[in-house]
């Protein structure tokens, strides 16, 4: 009997069909990845397996059988016995997925007691045991910590520990590494791999990241618009995709080993920073976010700034555009020392939702730099905005629309158009594509490249994704703890990293080839033990 058998599953919310006629099986001990872009219905499938749609108004059709339980027919009590005990789920955002007010050990113990009716003491002991099992150091003490006292990776480990508490037959991991840095992501994936080897539990991995899937599972199921596009062994599907969509998906994934055609870089320095330093807070709580950073950007060049969360890259970007004043050091633009913002240095923001005022039409947002410059002729403003909208691949008629009427990628295009409206010489892009699906990502990256060539823009591309940075950058600066630890031409940094940290970063990037993934896993173990 299969561990999971899903037949002709459909899930409807109101009139919207999120999952449409999906069937698959997962054998005991096997691993399956549901891969798809946002809106493909993959997470809905995961929830449906545990019957989490019960009582929410969603209409679920077809049959679901998990670890011998008919989820569709099960009573509330049966479902509760299934959840956590036979099939456990790990969620995407480990911070919000844990109760912020209780100690982690208590939360795990609570779950354990729900299913085992063991004593409080036994439950606590079990919690410490599983925390230890997932690699939390000093687990008896750390089990008394609250979630916010853990780092992101530790929290995800804790969530996995909670899942392990009752020794489930199936682990459902819904985007378990999306919120994590690349090195941490690798650790978590490695952990999942090891656990699966040791406990023999089945794994259902839900992810948008093809690389993550390639690293972790045996079989893959590609979803789009709630339907199956392609399914089969991971080697086959990812190695030789049969469907155009799968191919499109794969080709859009940026490769860390891809070589990029160089830009037309001039010698003219448009942006220069020297000795930049920025502290937050005062006195004993002061934190140095950026420390002694010096860099130059030339006309027509793309400088990639790569680093993990907390490395200070966003702070650096904000200082470069003048949104933040440096504590020490200076930013020179066209050779002139500068304080405050300057329309000639623009920024494209990470979150396409929060970077556009939801209460103003996109045309108005794009027109801001024009009006601020003193343009009063509505006709000319309209004309220029239309031109910019078309330039970034939107329609002039979109002027009157509001941000929520656009998709993420379109919103990012609006953001770019707004930056262009100021006729900038430099655009600092702060994680411009990290919130986007891979296919969209590729389009936006391509657009930036085009614009750069056309307008001779200098770009500073700040990102955590090493592959994307390589794809766009002429030169790369690697940041860690506020400092630039390595800088140089992109190819040199990627192909011959000098700093051990850079090497560690590169080793953590998931590979699309499952066999390569296995090799890299081994290499990571070596690096970690070294």
């Amino acid at each position: 009997m299969s561990l999971v058998r899903v037949t002709d599953l459909t899930v409807e919310f109101g009139g919207l069909r999120a999952v449409d006629g999906l069937s698959f099986t997962l054998e005991r001990g096997a691993a399956l990845a549901l891969v798809g872009e946002s809106g493909s219905g993959k997470s809905t499938v995961a929830s449906a397996l545990l019957g989490l749609h019960h009582g929410t108004g969603a209409r679920v059709g077809g049959s679901i059988e998990v670890a011998g339980t008919d989820v569709q027919a099960a009573s509330d009590g049966e479902l509760r016995r299934l959840r956590g005990a036979k099939a456990a789920m790990v969620f995407q955002d480990p911070l919000s997925s844990l109760d912020p007010y209780y100690a982690i050990g208590d939360q795990i113990a609570e779950v354990y007691r729900v299913h085992t009716r063991g004593s409080r003491r036994a439950a606590r002991a079990r919690a410490v045991e599983v925390l230890d099992r997932v690699g939390i150091p000093d687990s008896p003490r750390r089990s008394r910590s609250r979630p916010h006292e853990f780092s992101g990776g530790m929290r995800q480990r804790a969530l996995i520990a909670m899942a392990l508490a009752c020794e489930p037959e199936l682990l459902i991991a819904d985007e378990p590494t999306t919120a994590l840095d690349v090195t941490v992501q690798a650790q978590i994936l490695d952990l999942l791999h090891t656990l699966r080897e040791e406990t023999g539990m089945g794994l259902l991995l839900v992810t948008h990241d093809v690389g993550v899937a390639a690293e972790s599972v045996d079989d893959v199921l590609v979803m789009r618009h709630g339907r199956v596009v392609e399914q089969g062994p991971v080697v086959g599907v990812l190695g030789a995709p049969a469907q155009p969509y799968t191919r499109e998906l794969l080709s859009a994934v940026p490769r860390v080993d891809a070589v990029r055609a160089p830009s037309q870089v001039s010698d003219e320095v448009v942006l220069e920073a020297s000795g930049l330093r920025r502290e937050f807070g005062r006195g004993k709580r002061a934190v140095t976010a950026v420390d002694d950073v010096t860099l130059t950007v030339h006309r027509g060049e793309t400088l990639g700034v790569v680093g993990e969360s907390g490395s200070g890259k966003t702070t650096l970007g904000r200082m470069l555009v003048g949104l933040l004043e440096p504590t020490a050091g200076e930013v020179r633009h066209d050779g002139h020392a500068r304080v405050g913002v300057n329309p000639a240095v623009q920024m494209v923001f990470q979150d396409p939702v929060s970077s556009l005022n939801p209460r103003r039409s996109v045309g108005e947002s794009i027109a801001d730099p024009l009006r601020a410059r003193g343009e009063r002729d509505e006709g000319r403003i309209r004309e220029r905005v239309t031109e910019l909208l078309e330039r970034v691949g939107l329609e002039g008629a979109h002027y009157q629309r509001y941000p929520h009427e656009f998709s993420g990628g379109q919103r990012q295009r609006v953001g770019i158009a707004r930056a262009l409206a100021a006729d900038p010489r430099v655009i600092v892009c702060d994680e411009p594509v990290s919130a986007l699906d891979v296919t969209t990502q590729a389009q936006v990256v391509a657009l930036l490249g085009e614009l750069q060539r056309e307008l001779g823009l200098a770009l500073v591309f700040v990102a955590h994704d090493l592959a994307v940075v390589r794809q766009v950058s002429d030169r790369v600066a690697v940041m860690r703890r506020g400092r630039i630890i390595e800088t140089g031409p992109a190819d040199e940094v990627y192909d011959h990293p000098r700093d051990p940290y850079t090497r560690q970063l590169l080793a953590a990037v998931p590979a699309l080839d499952p066999e390569a993934a296995a090799r890299r896993r081994a290499a990571r173990r070596e690096l970690a033990s070294a």
């Binding site: 920024m347 556009l356 100021a422």
Partner: protein
């Protein structure tokens, strides 16, 4: 909690087509209780506005004495049954004077609602200006304004009212004065909320983008921040209005509210409470009117909050300093207020640097 407030800004990706205002109305309309409450509030406002018309219809006015309808020897209790309810006096007459209660109730609505609404507007305006200025000004401006805000949070409203209402010349119209005193003294909490919210909004990318466009602080405050402040402010205002009605009542109770013969609900309640046994309807009328108003405004406030954003606004809670009881209006305690000085460094911040 700051991140919850940020969520106010996030439009629903699923919402389609309609502009913000239309979306708001549609969402408000889907809540039946809120729709009914909005209807009641509208009706109350209408009654207040149409008070002269309604009393003409009844054929009475709020100030004429009807000594024939009361029993002078028994303290002036109405002679008719049920407090003198009749075709000519729809809700009976007032003990001691025989003035028409219906007329006094509808005219009282004018003062009570008028004072409450306009005092709220005043509080909101001052709170907005001070809160936004503090948050945007930063540095010493923030320090100074925040301290001033603290002072006004700590000043007991009733006590200052007692003094201020005595200082101002009597020729100054009382309802306006009561409004001014409430508005000018108890804006501290709303300023705190606005400041906290502005600080949150200020950190948003679209505000940064507006700065990069080259706009000045004033323009940014007006175009980018104020719309974002609307949700918490409107929600809070819906709480303040009933509180202010109560404050007016409490001022009347202490003898410093609106002056006779102008009726107000608060004044009626004050005069009526001792008549609870001898003429119960005299007390029940203004108390009932007040209850319906507060209930409607509260439900409407909830509805507005939900319509503006189901998640973020719920943070505000009811937050009242139960002014009537607790006489200072102070503690409008949304969590935003009380911890405006305690910065929530939610761990989420680690992730987003």
């Amino acid at each position: 909690m700051s991140e919850a407030l940020v969520a106010t800004q996030a439009p629903e990706a699923s919402a389609s087509g309609a502009s913000g205002a239309r979306r708001f109305w549609r969402r408000l309309r889907t809540q039946r209780a809120a729709t009914v409450a909005a209807g009641i509030v509208a009706l109350l406002v209408l009654v207040a506005l149409a008070a002269p018309l309604l009393t003409t219809l009844e054929g009475q006015d709020p100030t004429t004495y009807h000594p024939s309808l009361i029993d002078s020897a028994r303290g002036g209790v109405p002679t008719g049954s049920l407090g003198g309810i009749s075709g000519r006096h729809w809700l009976g007459v007032e003990p001691q004077t025989g003035r028409d209660l219906f007329a006094r109730l509808v005219y009282g609505a004018r003062v009570s609602l008028g004072v409450a609404f306009s005092a709220t507007v005043l509080q909101v305006v001052i709170g907005l200006v001070v809160g936004v200025a503090a948050a945007l000004g930063g540095g010493w401006i923030d320090q100074v304004l925040s301290r001033i805000t603290d002072i006004f949070v700590a000043l007991p409203l009733m006590i200052m009212s007692l003094a201020l209402l005595a200082i101002v010349p009597q020729s100054f119209p009382r309802p306006v004065l009561v409004t001014l005193v409430i508005g000018l003294i108890s804006w501290g909490n709303i300023a705190k909320i606005v400041r906290a919210q502005t600080l949150t909004l200020k950190g948003l990318d679209y505000v940064a983008a507006a700065r990069l466009s080259g706009w000045g602080a004033w323009r940014i405050a007006r175009r980018e921040l104020l719309p974002g402040l609307a949700a918490p402010v409107i929600t809070y205002a819906s709480i303040l209005i009933p509180v202010n009605i109560s404050v007016e009542a409490a001022l009347s109770f202490l003898g410093i509210g609106v002056k006779p013969p102008t009726p107000s609900w608060g004044q009626m309640l004050t005069a009526a409470d001792v008549w609870y046994q001898a003429a119960p309807q005299y007390l029940l009328l203004p108390a009932g009117a007040l209850f319906v108003t507060v209930l409607a405004l509260t439900v409407l406030g909830d509805g507005v909050r939900t319509a503006l954003d189901p998640r973020a606004a719920s943070r505000l809670g009811v937050g009242t300093g139960r002014t009537r009881a607790a006489v200072t209006t102070s503690t409008a305690t949304s969590t935003a207020t009380s911890t405006s000085t305690a910065t929530a460094t939610a761990a989420a911040k680690e992730e987003s640097e």
